[in-house]
């Protein structure tokens, strides 16, 4: 054959293979998704929704199920009657409530969902906006035994990365705690204990503003159309709608990270400072690694030298020379006399 026609065939084949194997939009992935049992997914998702409504002390009906699962009311009616046949829910005057077996089924799914999120947060580099969607898939695939194995592997956690309690294998779950962020008065301190991860659009806005579970906040302004607070030295302004997805526990003692607290990148050659803390944005293995190196509250840290590539920079920490990338240095809060920024 002619080289030209072969070249064209070659390009077509390469493009086809890329199309087939593309991680998210690829045909292979599409095929995998379509193979999943859609009825089972609908049943489990609606159980979860009804459970959520009960946990938040609101009612669920055919419309809320259809809305939450993004299906027609006809289909939702079919799902509900199926759930009723299976003895998982009771329907009384349009109100749908879980039966005893329905509740334990729902808790099982929630357990897997939250365990999976914890696993992703602690043991992988999957970004936080992808935790929820990945867990939405895993919860329908993992068996009970696999979930228990996973739980044992990650140290039987009791809290998911959004601050929600993880049900035990026996189906027990802790009561929720804390107050909505907007209930905190001006000047009060609180720690974020829960970030609602649905809807996705609101959650990704929260993540984009740099808010993480476990951060301490100090309220500076509460009004009808905006909520202003300071966390890890930064002032954040949220609309009340978005702020309602955040739950805080009021606190007395301040973390000492204020709007004037500099991070390690402000340290200049030869200067020395004391570590105040590590940002909550640094999590999982990376956080543990920094702490293992001795970078904890109260540690003295000194700028030693810059690499030939400018990034990373080497610091002296407890007698050892440790190289940190700029992205990491920006997550370490410091204080000290030698700092020009204080």
């Amino acid at each position: 054959m002619e080289p030209l026609s072969l070249l064209i065939i070659g390009v077509v084949i390469v493009l086809f293979v890329l199309l087939l194997l593309h991680p998210r939009k690829g045909l292979l992935n599409f095929f995998k998704k379509s193979k999943r049992d859609s009825t089972r997914v609908l049943i489990e998702d609606s159980l979860k929704h009804i459970y959520d409504c009960e946990y938040n002390k609101s009612a669920s009906d055919i419309n809320s199920i259809a809305g939450n699962l993004n299906i027609s009311t006809d289909k939702a009616a079919k799902v509900i009657s199926k759930l009723e046949d299976m003895g998982l829910v009771d329907v009384k005057s349009n109100k749908v409530s879980l039966s005893e077996s329905g509740r334990s089924y729902a808790l099982r799914i929630i357990r897997i969902h939250r365990l999976w999120e914890r696993y992703l947060a602690d043991r992988t580099s999957v970004g936080e906006t992808e935790w929820h969607s990945s867990a939405e898939e895993a919860e329908h695939i993992l068996t009970d035994d696999q979930a228990n194995e996973l739980a044992a592997q990650i140290g039987n956690p009791v809290i998911d990365p959004h601050g929600d309690p993880i049900p035990t294998s026996k189906g027990e779950i802790k009561e929720k705690r804390g107050i909505p962020l907007s209930k905190l008065s001006v000047g009060e301190l609180g720690r974020i204990v829960h970030i609602e991860d649905e809807p996705q659009s609101v959650y990704s806005q929260i993540v984009a503003s740099g808010i993480h579970s476990g951060m301490q906040v100090r309220m500076t302004e509460v009004s009808k159309n905006k909520i202003k607070f300071i966390t890890e030295g930064e002032e954040i302004i949220l609309s009340p709608l978005i702020a309602s997805n955040l739950t805080v526990l009021p606190e007395q003692k301040s973390d000492e990270i204020s709007e004037n607290t500099p991070t390690l990148i402000f340290l200049k050659p030869g200067e020395e400072a004391v570590v105040v803390g590590i940002s909550k944005a640094c999590r999982g293995q990376q956080r543990r690694r920094l702490m293992d190196l001795g970078i904890v509250k109260g540690t003295k840290i000194k700028y030693v030298m810059e690499s030939a590539g400018k990034d990373p920079v080497a610091y002296e920490v407890r007698g050892a020379i440790v190289a940190l990338r700029k992205a990491q240095a920006a997550q370490i809060f410091i204080s000290g006399k030698g700092l020009s920024n204080v």
Binding site: T124, S125, G284, R289, V304, E306, S307, D311, A320, V322
Partner: protein
């Protein structure tokens, strides 16, 4: 009854622990580590007396400034690497030649003679002595000397404390492709031997970056492939330019291929970290230990035993069965032709699409244990299939010629063109790792998935690159 009581006790304790952990919240772990460090710090402050900064400390600081400054850091690094490679290449020529003349030119004929005298059947004789023994002898002769020089030199630099500074300097580049600065070290180690490079990735403690370093190590042109590149470049690229430029141009082509490998390792690292390895855990850390005088004897011992002998042993274990296969495929006939000829005739049209030929494909399949035996296998297969008389020692007996001109003659009579040469150089860089390396990858990752990815990703890239280079070449020429 008693069992029940204990169970409920256990459950009670677990429940109690869960309650406490729920109340304590997420920051509990941080507080524990903080208090451990504070306690330890307080104790250390009481019992340890700090000495004045010593002379050695100032020397360390001065040296650090020299090797990590923007002006001098990179030149020093390239210079040291170049010196290490130069010593390796120059130093291994003579011992390699001695080993080859001992194992291949002297012991091999002796063994043949002995087998003949004791009346060993011809096929056992061929299988064991021409197949298994010769493959093993070849691997030892070509692999042992460069590894025995390269690894101790590298270990000395490591022991002295210089290599972590290289990782420190190179990290900016590797960070951009989602990898770890220490990959610069494992990659350099890969220039010696990919299997050793894969083992060396143990220095990277972040799981994702380590996997990236393992999968891309094969793009470092290893010791076994340098001779192939030099030979083919001399014949096909050096031969195409005026004689006084031949040396420079062919050397430039080989260095170009090696740099292309570095480029591929960076591009593939970037691709991997943004697709299949996106979710793997990652935690950067890099400690810069103080400089120490290298312990020369200990270094020699550990690098010879841990790296050289270890890798060589694995290579020998894989070379012996390959030798058997090489002898069998060229000596077992089905109908009129041997298995090798059947395969070559069948695969030739396919191979030509990639600028290669059936012989090269077969050689890369049966010589998978070691890149060192690819050229001898190609020569043997070419001579037997084209029926050249007077060269080599028969079907299934690998050989090499001292003279480049004679080698070129064999290849030209096998129908090779400049395009075949260039395609072979590219394919030699971009193909699966040898079986020793693959086995090492499996041992290090404990995962079939990553072993398969490491094997097929470079082949796919190699075939795509060879295909487009060939077809564009044919279109233009």
């Amino acid at each position: 009854m008693k069992g029940n009581a204990i169970m409920s006790n256990k459950e009670y304790i677990i429940k109690d622990a869960d309650d406490l952990r729920w109340e304590l919240g997420e920051n509990f772990h941080d507080h524990i580590i903080e208090s451990v460090y504070n306690e330890a710090g307080a104790i250390a402050a009481k019992v340890i007396i700090q000495k004045e900064e010593s002379k050695k400390f100032h020397f360390d600081q001065w040296l650090d400034r020299l090797v990590t400054s923007r002006l001098t850091g990179f030149p020093i690094m390239f210079l040291l690497l170049a010196i290490v490679f130069w010593i390796t290449i120059e130093g291994s020529n003579i011992p390699s030649g001695l080993l080859a003349s001992l194992l291949v030119d002297t012991i091999h004929p002796e063994l043949k003679l002995l087998a003949q005298n004791i009346g060993m059947p011809v096929w056992i004789n061929g299988l064991l002595i021409d197949g298994a023994y010769l493959a093993m002898a070849w691997v030892i002769a070509v692999m042992l000397p460069p590894m025995a020089i390269f690894f101790p030199l590298f270990t000395l630099l490591e022991d002295f404390g210089y290599l972590p500074r290289v990782a420190f300097n190179m990290d900016n580049l590797y960070r951009r492709v989602g990898a770890h600065g220490k990959q610069a070290l494992t990659m350099s180690m890969g220039f010696g031997c990919n299997a050793a490079g894969v083992i060396a990735t143990r220095i990277i403690d972040s799981p994702r970056e380590r996997l990236i370093a393992i999968i891309t190590n094969n793009f470092s042109l290893c010791n076994g492939r340098w001779p192939t590149q030099i030979l083919i470049a001399t014949i096909f690229i050096g031969g195409a330019v005026p004689a006084h430029l031949a040396g420079v141009v062919s050397a430039g082509a080989v260095v170009g291929i090696a740099l292309l490998g570095v480029l591929f390792s960076l591009v593939v690292s970037w691709g991997l970290s943004n697709t299949v390895l996106k979710g793997e855990a990652s935690a950067f850390s890099l400690e810069l230990p103080p400089y120490r005088p290298p312990r020369i004897l200990q270094t020699l011992y550990t690098s010879l035993i841990d790296r050289t002998i270890f890798v060589l042993w694995r290579a020998i274990i894989f070379a012996i069965p390959a030798g058997l296969v090489i002898w069998l495929v060229s000596n077992v006939d089905i109908g009129e032709y041997s298995i090798a000829e059947h395969f070559i005739n069948w695969s030739n049209p396919f191979a030509l699409l990639f600028g290669l030929n059936g012989i090269i494909l077969l050689a890369y399949i049966i010589a998978i244990p070691a890149n060192e035996i690819v050229i001898p296998t190609i020569l043997m297969l070419t001579v037997t299939t084209v029926n050249i008389v007077g060269v080599g020692s028969g079907a299934g007996v690998m050989f090499e010629l001292d003279s480049t001109a004679d080698t070129a003659e064999i290849l030209f009579s096998g129908g090779w063109s400049a395009l075949t040469g260039i395609s072979l150089m590219l394919f030699s860089l971009l193909h699966n790792p040898c079986s020793t390396t693959l086995y090492t990858i499996y041992k290090e990752t404990h995962s079939w998935k990553w072993t398969v990815v490491s094997a097929f990703l470079p082949i796919a890239i190699g075939l795509v690159v060879c295909f487009f280079v060939t077809q564009i070449w044919l279109l233009v020429a």
